[in-house]
Structure formats: C-alpha cells, structure tokens
Amino acid sequence: MIRLDAIRIIAEKAREDSSLLISNIGIPCKELYHVCDAPRNFYMLGSMGLASSIGLGLSLAKPQRHVMTIEGDGSMLMNLGSLATIASQHPPNYLLIIIDNGTYGSTGDEPTATSMYTDLAAMAKGAGIREVYTSYTQEGLIKLLENVKSGVIVVKVQPGNAQVPLIDICPETILAWFMGEVLENTDIKNAQC
C-alpha cells in the first residue's frame, strides 16, 4: 500500500459518511483532489504542520459534523503539541488519520524519524489520546474506518507518490466552496467522485 491507496479508501469513506475532510500540504492534497474532488474537502496548500489543528478547530466549531484530517508523518512531527491539545479536547466527531510512509514524500523522500525509532501511535497514546489504532493493510484500514469515528489512526504505507496534476483552484475558491458546504448545506451533497 502507498499513500494514494490509503487516500482512496479515506475519501470513499468520507463520501459515504458525508464527513468533512482536511488534507495535508503537498502531494497528499493533489492525490485527494485527483481521486475525489468535493466541496467537503479542504486542501491545505501552505502552513505545513497545521492540518491536524485545522481539523480540531473545525470539529469543535461544528460538533454535529464528522471531521477527518489526513496528516503525514513529517508534518505531524512538526506539530506534536497538537496531539496533546486533541487529547485534552477529545471531540467525539474528530478522527485524525496519520499516513506514515517514513519520508518527506513531497520534497524528495528524505527519511523522517518514523523510518528509524519514532512511533507516532505511541506518541499519540502518550499525549493522552484514548483511541489510537495502527493499520498496515488496505483491508485493515477499511475495517477500522467502519468502526472508529474519533481519536487517531496511523496508517503505515510504503513511500511513493502518484503522478497527479496540480490543484487548479485558487485558495479563496477552495475556502469559499468548503465553507459553503460547512455552513449552508447540512444534507449530503453531490460529491463528484
């Protein structure tokens, strides 16, 4: 399994459950845009490290909506304090999914600490997050997403990027579509999957 396979599964689940989906900077955003563009997606184009924080703020502001964030290992390591804040707030409608390929995939596959000794699931538990799961296979991830609605899932994948095009929507439009979805339409929208 590479990142794209995990994103496909997560996007399909988000479509099924009408979950709001925050995506991490770089190639993860582009891969999500490629496999399933929808107004329910927020593509974070800058601010590396803050995807998990944006998802947390959104889930606290909109407790009636389910929120998922696609985070990476390198970007999670950049904002580890976020795990402590998520543990303190523990919103029941927030699921943080860390796709861990052990590299900075968007910049040239330089190894991250998780390719050596660092265990992000253990760090999430240590931060105080009660529901922490690890998945190593596509089937395992599908099964976890059926049952787990909050806490953290670490998805272990092989390094590798899909060849996908740039996101050709401007940031203001991304935000406007996303906020239109969050604030006006609580019914399931027609996702363009």
């Binding site: 601010s47 998990s52 703020g57 304090g81 935000l175």
Partner: protein, 167 residues
C-alpha cells in the same frame, strides 16, 4: 476588580461577538484567560504553541466561529508562516489579542528583542494593529479590530503594553 483592564478587554471581546478563543499564557493575561475559560458563550482551547492556535482558529472560522487568540507578542514569531501561508493565502480573519512585553516597564531582558520587533514585523506582514492606551479605548479597539479582520479577511492585532495592565 469590576473595573480591571482584563474586564475591559473581556467586555470588548463580548461586544465584538467573539465565541471561539485559543490561548497561550502570559503573566499579564492570567485573569483574562481564567475569565474566558469560565465564559459559557466562548469555546476556549488552550494550545501548546501560537502557530498551532492559528490553525485551530482557522478551522473554527471555517465552522462559522468568530475567533481570537490570547497570546504574548513573543508568539508572533512562532506564528509567522501560518499567518502568511494560511490566513493571508485563503483570506481567513483572526484577532490576535497580545500582551506586548519587552516595552517600557519590562523587567525581563529576554523579552526586549521581540518587544522591539513586534510592530515592525506586523507592518512588514501588512497586518493592521491597534494600541489602546486606556480601558475605555480597549473596548472600542477590539470591536473595530474584529470588524477590520472580517472586512480585510486578514489577521489583525491589538497590542496591550505593560502599562495597560497596571491601569
């Protein structure tokens, strides 16, 4: 107590309709953070670092909230990339209510470098800021700053210098 600087700031925050606040402590914000935490109309999220707070507030804004961050000016340095590549890029408002340390009356020398740099950094980033000198000014400035943040779709700062907290 009923007329403390912290109460004036809270009154301004309520008038500005702020309903989602993140905080990183400063000794001058002690009373205000405690009041915000007890306020039933405000969701208060203590964060570990100001940059994280910028992200949490951005998400809350997307969920329809009116957001502010209680912080020390040193935290501006921790937030710059996020303020530029998240708030400025997408047009996300944020009110930064700052205790401005490292100015007249500062006993800690380590506060002085960021104290000196705070206004120049805000100017460079084209972030509007207000510097209320009295409790009466504070209330109006917070309301005006929030309106500016919404209209310009930008972060806006309010700097409360050391002297303000002794009024």
């Amino acid at each position: 107590m009923d007329n403390s600087p912290s109460i004036a700031v809270l009154r301004g925050m309520k008038k500005a309709g702020l309903d989602f606040v993140v905080s990183v402590p400063c000794v001058n914000l002690k009373e205000l953070i405690s009041m915000v935490d007890k306020d039933p109309d405000i969701i208060h999220v203590p964060v570990t670092r100001e940059e994280e707070g910028v992200g949490v507030c951005a998400g809350a804004y997307m969920g329809g909230r009116r957001t502010a961050m209680l912080m020390q000016n040193s935290g501006l340095g921790n937030s710059i990339n996020a303020l530029a590549s998240l708030n400025k890029l997408y047009g996300i408002p944020l009110l930064m209510i700052m205790s401005h340390r490292g100015v007249e009356g500062e006993p800690v020398c380590a506060q002085v470098p960021m104290g000196d740099l705070t206004m120049p950094l805000l100017e460079t980033m084209n972030i509007p800021f207000f510097v209320p000198a009295s409790k009466t000014e504070a209330e109006g400035a917070i309301v005006e700053a929030m309106t500016t943040a919404q209209e310009k779709r930008s972060p806006v700062a309010i700097l409360f210098k050391i002297g303000f907290w002794r009024l």
